[in-house]
């Protein structure tokens, strides 16, 4: 299932924006086993957004499992590098 971010959110800057996306991602994974998030048209994200949208997934499954079930597409490099870095930082042993 492809989640087009701009269909659901007016911005990707706050924790609340992130929580909305997290709900959509979790719903897609629950129903279909995986989620594709399409960031076409989004100029940037913040750490608050990424922290709320994606980090809670690591409380429910391993990082390897997240990698299998979540795809991020049509996103600017600022967005992909922030998501990748935050997920890596949070899943590393020192983050505990």
């Amino acid at each position: 299932m492809v989640i087009h971010v701009t269909d659901h959110l007016s911005g990707c800057a706050t924790n609340e924006d992130g929580e909305v996306l997290l709900g959509l991602v979790e719903d897609a994974i629950r129903r279909e086993g995986s989620a594709v998030v399409d960031f076409h048209g989004v100029l940037y994200t913040t750490t608050s957004f990424v922290n709320s949208a994606f980090l809670p997934l690591l409380e429910r499954m391993s990082f390897d499992e997240v990698k299998k079930r979540l795809r991020i597409v049509k996103a600017y490099p600022q967005i992909t590098s922030m998501i990748r870095d935050r997920m890596s930082q949070e899943s590393s042993p020192a983050a505990a």
Partner: protein
């Protein structure tokens, strides 16, 4: 009725205003009934001075203090710059000089509520900077995120849900200078809630650690300052100075953090102010390509 005069002397920037407040004996949490800023000896005006003086004025007003300005309408370069920045229009509701007008390369001083900030970045800030720097809004996105990040910090850490911002783009050096600040409790005080042994610049530096979070709200999980440093200082070769709670650090181009001299004075001004210098010519002209993320 108590009255106090604060003379602002020399360069108008964060450290010098803090020094002048202390010299006058002002304690901002218990201000006099009336405070007069004397601008007769103001010299070069920097963005951090514009924003700090604006925040201070707003805060004093909120404390019931009447604020006036003296000797502000002598046509000297610093005061003309302050007028062109929109400072007097905001604080005394009129321009100081006939004929000064905002340049296209000036983003007027404004106070923004945290709930409005992210929309403002998209609708006002990025189009303005794109026009100045001849870069697309998409190319500027990974700097725009920094402004949103600062306003998220204000929301998470300040009792006053507003921030002031002022920016000037300098075409001769193709560089942006921007200051944005709040009147919160300051980063050292926030860091001390979880690591009380840290203070001053050491505490501000700790806040740059991607593993550090004060968890001041349940949703706050940190890493914002670390990403700002990577974007501004490492990717774009800019600099970022953070003044907060009587201390200051500079993140140099490349990312190294150095401690600056403590801010002089005991005026009680704790607010945080970011001053960012961004060489916009370092931003690639080509639009970034949307991509699929590789884990």
């Amino acid at each position: 009725m108590s009255e106090m005069v604060v003379s602002l002397v020399g360069a108008l920037n964060y450290p010098s205003v803090a020094y002048d407040l202390d010299a006058a004996g002002l304690i901002v949490q218990s201000p006099p009934d009336t405070l007069i800023f004397d601008l007769a000896r103001v010299g070069f005006v920097e963005p951090s001075g514009v924003v700090m003086l604006h925040n201070l004025t707003r805060y004093l007003h909120s404390m019931g203090c009447k604020v006036f300005y003296r000797n502000y309408n002598e046509p000297r370069p610093g005061l003309l710059f302050l007028d062109g920045a929109g400072f007097f229009e905001d604080v005394i509701r009129t321009k100081a000089f006939e004929g000064t007008r905002r340049k296209a390369t000036t983003l007027s001083l404004r106070e923004i509520r945290t709930i409005d900030a992210h929309g403002w970045v998209s609708s006002d800030f990025l189009p303005w900077l794109a026009n100045c720097s001849s870069r697309s809004e998409a190319a500027l996105g990974h700097f725009g995120f920094c402004i949103s990040e600062i306003f998220n910090n204000i929301r998470d850490h300040s009792d006053h849900q507003v921030g002031s911002i002022f920016a000037q783009w300098y075409p001769n050096i193709d560089t942006l200078k921007l200051a944005v600040g709040d009147f919160g409790r300051g980063i050292p005080a926030t860091v001390a809630t979880v690591e009380p042994e840290l203070a001053g610049a050491t505490a501000i530096e700790r806040a740059f650690d991607p593993k550090f979070t004060s968890q001041s709200t349940p949703k706050n999980r940190g890493a914002g300052l670390d990403f700002m440093r990577k974007n501004v200082c490492q990717s774009l070769n800019g600099t970022m100075t953070v003044y907060s709670g009587g201390a200051a650090v500079l993140a140099r181009a490349g990312g190294q953090i150095v401690h600056l001299n403590p801010i002089y004075g005991n005026s009680g001004y704790t607010g945080t102010l970011f001053e960012i210098v961004l060489p916009t010519h370092r931003i690639p002209e080509a639009n970034p390509e949307e991509e699929e993320m590789r884990w």
